[in-house]
């Protein structure tokens, strides 16, 4: 029975990429209750910025850093220009703005040479060469880096939201903007910050994803959809949920690819399995494993 | 709006638990037809929870609630409504985007008896009943003196008016029993007087039984036929207003001072 542990490990690895992608999504939802359908496109933007820089001879790590900074600013900009006007509008309107934005960013990426085609990072020295082997499953250094990064960010953001005043305030804003303003919180700054932080983690996710499976606009942006099962499972507003949800979905996907695909004619169950899980979770525990339960009293 | 045989509301041994917390513990009380019965008690005592149990928003963990032969303890809110129980909420639960008239029309839902098919063709039954309904709703608007606001979106009305719409809407349901949760919160004396007048008229002219939750002891003492006091989910007193207000447990848990001392004499 070597297959099972291998599937689990591989699930954790890919799951950490999902987790990273989901993290930014959660950051935005957590403070502003906005579901961001453009997150995949921001991930793509981050990845392509890093790639474009390495193409021009910039050191890989520096390029990644600049990309993260750029998407940090991009996140702020998006909030400033588009989302700020939408405060107080119905949820569907806000959702549609992000859907519209995803389309706009798609278009903008098509204005660069990276809109069509596939590209690959030149792997930096640190990430080349032999990784480690677990239960006979070789893991590349990139994959290990992805897992570590996901766990690191998990720790950091969990601490931030539970212990720091700013983190607590960001959650407070999600609860009641007016009340938050009454104690001097700049709600606008909080939103901008959330979007910026989301942008930052998006670039990280994009670069890791690019290292693992190449850069295509469709592939990178497509992860924006994969994120939904993850965040629903983990809880839309939970950092730890994003990580655990990501890993779980990764694992479940792999188990379905490992075992179900052999049974279902045509296979390909991993494409749909997460969404079936999603519906089941929604029915049993609508706020996910770690999500906050909506307090509703009449 | 004639009630053939008025029903009595019976709450028997109701306990309601949230996780570890007992919001209500073994509460039993009776609301005789045609009376105004007030429920008072400190914040968090379980008054709204009790109302929620009656109106089907919560289901008691133990105990029974019956009204005119119907068991309410497991019924959904819309089912409870169909038994002739209407409710006005503590925190306004209006259809904010709709006008006053539309809000009231919605309250006629259960009184309209036509199918989706009738709706689709809108000829005959649906059309006729809708016209009758409008007439009914306009009568309520007159009664509650809401004429000048009738076509304004409810969300833009002043708080006090919204409270009145809330009561009007419950009244439009043509209930036998009307549950009012702090209908006078946030009003000054003058506005409270208006609301009291409506409540008394509803009771006297239409014979509707009223359960009232209110923190203003003046109002409660003046208009109730019977008062129940909840504290920490338990019924600590019940009876005629004078008896209750003199009860030392009530003074300790709720009013803090005897009622007469409250007025400003200074």
């Amino acid at each position: 029975m070597e297959l099972l542990p291998q599937l689990l490990i591989a699930g954790v690895v890919i799951g950490s990429v999902y987790a990273l992608a989901a993290l930014g999504f959660v950051l935005i939802y957590k403070s502003s209750r906005v579901i961001n359908f453009a997150h995949g496109q921001i991930i793509a933007t981050g990845a392509f910025i890093a790639f474009a820089l390495t193409q021009r001879g910039v050191n890989f790590w520096l390029a990644g850093l600049i990309a993260m900074l750029t998407t940090f600013l991009l996140g702020m900009l998006i909030e400033r220009v588009f989302l700020r006007r939408m405060v107080g509008q119905p949820i569907i309107a806000v959702i549609m703005v992000t859907i519209g934005l995803s389309s706009v960013i798609d278009g903008l990426i098509h204005l660069t040479p990276y809109g069509a085609g596939t590209f690959g990072f030149e792997r930096p020295a640190l990430l080349t060469g032999q990784g480690i082997e677990l239960f006979g499953l070789p893991l590349s250094k990139t994959q290990i880096a992805g897992v570590l990064m996901a766990l690191g960010l998990l720790g950091g953001f969990t601490y931030f939201f539970n212990k720091s005043t700013l983190g607590i305030t960001m959650r407070a804003v999600a609860d009641d903007q007016m009340a938050a303003m009454s104690v001097g919180t700049s709600v606008e700054r909080v939103f901008a910050l959330a979007w910026a932080a989301a942008g930052l983690t998006a670039a990280a996710a994009g670069v890791i994803l690019g290292l693992m499976s190449g850069l295509t606009l469709g592939g990178l942006a497509g992860i924006g959809l994969k994120v939904f099962p993850v965040v629903i499972l983990g809880g839309l507003d939970s950092v730890i949920g994003a990580i655990v949800g990501g890993m779980l979905i990764g694992i479940l996907e792999n188990l379905s690819a490992g075992y179900l695909d052999g049974i279902v004619p045509g296979g390909g169950t991993r494409e749909v399995f997460p969404f079936i899980i999603l519906i089941i979770v929604l029915l049993i525990r609508p706020y996910g494993l770690f999500g906050t339960k909506e307090i509703e009293r009449v | 709006m004639s009630q053939p045989q008025p029903s009595q509301l019976e709450v028997q041994g109701v306990t309601l638990t949230f996780g570890g917390l007992n919001a209500l513990t073994d509460v039993s009380l009776t609301v005789p037809p045609g009376e105004i019965v007030s429920i008072i008690g400190p914040n968090g005592a379980g008054k709204t929870s009790l109302l929620n149990c009656i109106s089907g928003f919560y289901h008691p963990t133990r105990g029974h609630i019956t009204f005119g032969g119907h068991d309410l303890s497991r019924a959904a809110p819309n089912v409870v409504t169909s038994y002739g129980i209407a409710r006005a909420f503590q925190n306004l639960e209006l259809f904010r985007g709709l006008s006053v008239v539309e809000n009231l029309l919605l309250a006629r839902h259960t009184h309209l008896r036509y199918s989706l098919l009738d709706s689709l063709i809108f000829y005959g039954r649906a059309s006729r009943q809708e016209a009758e309904n409008r007439a009914y709703v306009e009568r309520i608007i007159d009664f509650m003196e809401l004429e000048e606001h009738r076509s304004h979106p409810v969300g833009t009305l002043a708080y006090g008016i919204q409270k009145r719409v809330e009561v009007a809407r419950a009244l439009t349901l043509a209930p036998q029993l009307l549950l009012l949760d702090e209908p006078m919160a946030g009003m000054n004396v003058e506005e409270k007087e208006d609301m009291v007048r409506f409540i008394l008229d509803i009771q006297r002219e239409q014979g509707i039984t009223i359960v009232l939750i209110e923190h203003d002891m003046g109002v409660v003492m003046d208009i109730s036929d019977r008062v129940y006091v909840l504290d920490f989910g338990q019924l600590i007193a019940g009876g005629r207003p004078e008896e209750v207000s003199a009860d030392p447990r009530v003074i300790e848990a709720y009013t803090g001072v005897a009622e007469e001392q409250q007025a400003v004499g200074a």
Binding site: A172, A174, M178, S182, G184 | P42, G44, A185, D194, Q262
Partner: protein, 282 residues
């Protein structure tokens, strides 16, 4: 009786000398959505170290007045069209909400808007966002004023009772180190005992810390008993002002706000007629 007459009430209140820490609202007009005028030239003063109360009917514009002071009009699509508000040498009417808090004026919003999903302690900490002072010490200070709260520290605020929520909301505002506290209907929906407790606490904080307070109330009874000076507002105008004790003995205030007949006895709600007496100030 030194009650100033309506419409000519710009004479300074007589009891204490003006101080630079007075909060003054001068002839302020506010409109919502650029068209709905709500305040029509409101002027009032919150004397340093005093509790000032603001009474008025529903929709008179009391909340709007507080929002105008605290810079919270913008999210409601309202704006100050005319007039100024100043405090400690700063013109508040030119500042946004955050800067008003920085200037030392903090509002406790109407209806106990606690952060439902945050714990009680996190609610309080969220009040310390501007980082005045040491939040740990401040927490202890607030727990002294509201001794019920420490036991609830880790409870989700959404599940606490109304009175507790009001305490949390006030405590949260205190965490921002205000010099002027604006309270919007703290008694709303609270049981009499809790109302008394809240006002006792407000009074105590006012005395011990010299905090100025402007409290908007429907419960004129308790507000006038716990304040030094009072204003009455109707349809966006201040129609009456005076020392609280004096206001309490004004016949109109008695009838419309305190529910007491001219003879001095509380009239029964049961005897209300739909006939309405015209208010003298209208």
């Amino acid at each position: 009786m030194t009650l100033s007459t309506p419409h000519t009430s710009n004479a300074p209140p007589p009891q204490v000398a003006a101080s630079k820490d007075d909060l003054t609202v001068n002839n302020v007009e506010v409109v919502y959505h650029d068209i709905i005028q709500v305040l029509r030239g409101v002027s009032l003063t919150v004397r340093a170290g005093q509790v000032t109360s603001l009474l008025g009917t529903n929709g008179a514009g009391k909340t709007t007045t507080l929002r105008a002071i605290s810079g919270l009009l913008k999210p409601e699509n309202g704006k100050i069209r005319e007039g100024t508000i100043s405090f400690a040498g700063k013109t508040l009417s030119a500042l946004n909400g955050t800067d008003v808090v920085k200037a030392g004026v903090v509002q406790v919003p109407e209806g106990r808007r606690v952060f439902k999903h945050l714990s009680v302690e996190e609610n309080l900490r969220a009040g310390a966002i501007l980082g005045r002072g040491n939040w740990k010490e401040d927490l202890e200070r607030i727990y002294i004023y509201f001794p019920k709260l420490p036991a609830l520290r880790h409870k989700q605020a959404g599940y606490t009772s109304g009175g507790e929520q009001q305490m949390i909301a006030i405590g949260r505002a205190l965490m921002a180190h205000p010099r002027v506290l604006l309270l919007d209907e703290p008694s709303l929906g609270l049981a009499p005992l809790l109302v008394a407790e809240i006002f006792d606490n407000v009074r105590r904080i006012n005395r011990e810390e010299g905090l100025s307070v402007l409290v908007v109330e429907q419960n004129a009874n308790i507000a006038l008993r716990n304040s030094d000076y009072g204003y009455v507002m109707e349809s966006g105008r201040i129609v009456m002002e005076g020392l609280s004790a004096q206001l309490a003995s004004n016949p109109d205030v008695k009838e419309f706000y305190l529910g007491v007949t001219e003879g001095g006895v509380r009239k029964s709600f049961k005897d209300v007629k739909s006939y309405k007496r015209r208010k003298r100030w209208m």
